[in-house]
């Protein structure tokens, strides 16, 4: 590639683009230190109070919502990851009837707008007379996570070298041993990535939750309800803390992956 213009134009663009992407994140973080009263709109001075007393505002409403989000995300993640991983293994490894119908059933939830998924489930719960509570939110989140888990784990199963499992069988490993000692450990990074993705989707979901939550409040729902009358800075504190934790997890994973690749390269 010879255009010298591109040599500096593209890197400059990338820096500008990332700056743009980070603006609202930085804003949210800065305003978690705002010495605000009820609503957190104008800057009133720096304070650490909101970080130190997160749970005190509105009798702990923010923290209760956060706790609900954690419970819902955890249960939905476990359920969806187990079911999705099983489907991913079946799709890559086995032949079965209705393969294309299965693929369609897995693709459709990802191609359906969330508002339709939410309204559909709510209509079903309504006609079945199921009251909306924590359980209905968990059922909804598990549903939209399954397809994403299947897609993520499937890639990992497909990249798994079958020779490794054959070697295990040749060495007289029982099917259970081969699965527990070889297949599962090799799939684990993919399963963990899928679980993280599912938790992130569940934790940040508002649209489907809004239709199926009744009076239960999750963190996004709390923010939505408060949006018109002012969101306390404590919500920014929790969002910023979650952001930092997620960033640390992902960056550590990437750096250690790069370090491992380097080590393998020097050894090999």
């Amino acid at each position: 590639m010879k255009f010298s213009l591109g040599k500096w134009l593209l890197p400059v663009y990338v820096i500008v683009a990332f700056t743009f992407l980070m603006i609202p994140i930085v804003y949210t973080f800065i305003f978690s230190f705002n010495d605000s009263l009820k609503s957190n709109i104008t800057w009133r001075g720096f304070t650490l109070d909101k970080w130190l007393n997160v749970c005190e505002v509105q009798n702990g409403a923010v923290c209760r919502a956060f706790g609900n989000s954690i419970i819902i995300g955890t249960v939905a993640t476990v359920a969806a990851t187990v079911m999705g991983t099983m489907i991913a293994i079946a799709i890559v490894r086995y032949r079965f009837k209705f393969r294309s119908a299965t693929s369609l059933l897995l693709f459709l939830p990802m191609a359906t707008p969330e508002v339709v998924l939410g309204a559909g489930l709510a209509a079903q719960f309504l006609s079945a007379g199921v009251p909306k509570d924590m359980l209905t939110i968990i059922l909804a989140h598990t549903m939209f996570c399954i397809s994403f888990v299947v897609v993520t784990v499937k890639a990992r199963v497909a990249s798994l070298d079958p020779a490794l499992e054959e070697a295990g069988r040749d060495l007289y490993g029982s099917p259970n041993q081969v699965f527990a000692r070889i297949t599962f450990p090799l799939l684990l990074p993919g399963i963990l990535a899928a679980a993280l993705l599912c938790f992130a989707l569940s934790f940040d979901d508002f649209i489907i939750t809004n239709f199926n939550s009744g009076s239960v409040t999750t963190l996004p729902k709390y923010i939505y309800i408060s949006a018109s009358r002012g969101i306390p800075a404590e919500a920014n504190v929790i969002a910023s803390a979650v952001f930092i934790i997620a960033l640390v997890i992902v960056v550590t994973a990437q750096v250690s992956k790069a370090a491992r690749a380097k080590r393998l390269a020097t050894v090999g």
């Binding site: 590639m1 010879k2 593209l10 663009y13 990338v14 683009a17 990332f18 992407l21 980070m22 609202p24 994140i25 804003y27 949210t28 305003f31 187990v82 079911m83 099983m86 079946a90 890559v92 490894r93 086995y94 079965f96 299965t102 059933l105 939830p109 191609a111 359906t112 707008p113 508002v115 339709v116 559909g120 489930l121 209509a123 909804a140 598990t142 549903m143 399954i146 994403f148 299947v150 897609v151 993520t152 890639a155 199963v157 497909a158 990249s159 798994l160 020779a163 992130a200 940040d204 649209i207 809004n210 239709f211 923010i223 949006a227 018109s228 919500a235 969002a239 960033l247 994973a253 990437q254």
Partner: protein, 304 residues
Amino acid sequence: MAFAAFATTTGPGEEIARRRSPIALLLLLPGILYLILFFLTPLISLVLTSLQAPSETGLPGVYDQAFQWQNYVIVISDYWPHIVRSFGYALIATVLALAFSYPLAYFIGVKARQWPLLQSLLLVLVIAPFFISFLLRTLAWKQLLSDESFVITSLKALSLMAPDAHFTGTPAAVIFGLTYNFIPFMTLPLYTTLERLDLRYLEAGNDLYASPLQVFRKVTIPLSMPGIVAGTLLTFIPAAGDYINASRAFLGGSDTQMIGNVIEANFLILQNYPAAAALSIILMSVILVIVTVYIRRSGTEELL
């Protein structure tokens, strides 16, 4: 982590002959049953709800099962501006997100190949907005672009904006929010195809005296088509159904309401379940038609 979802890698595992076994059924059954119960039947109950008629008791929010097809005629004649607006906004936001993301994905996927660590850290930055609440991000933009904000007052001082003009509450603000919020969905699939782009094809183009622009148009773009298709769909579908950005409490105003806002209002506030259900079915059907035509179209273009 999230970008793994968009990868369509083939590996050694693909080559093994798939076996028939009753185990397959056991593995599939829980998840498939779950999706039938909580994805497929809700769609059916949505269709049924969309045909319901108000109950004879006259109680609000109570409906009897019927086959009132005119529900569809009513919602279309009542809400056609919202329907048109939704797809219009989503289309513009998708085009803007593609224009924004392509150079970014190209840099991460092609230029940054020599530095794997930089590559993965830049990817983390792309998905970083996912880690902070979607709603707070959107509210941050609302504050940053409000009438009293630094950006808007500066634009007005420079006479680049009329003194009595607003940004928040306008269609431009809603499209801006949709674009910003779905950029990672566009960038990640673009990255996964560009990352695997074989640079020797570009060299071959150069050797055959193609200008850089020609190489880009005739080689790079066609080879990254799978990423473009995946990215535009992953942006367009959620954007068309979104109701946060267009909501009055966020970036929208009273004349920017989209189909999602109408579905939400009818279902959760007005308790007009048949109207909400009919609108959902319309939204879903239009999207399925667009997706099918689009995938077919881009597929044939690739063959040519």
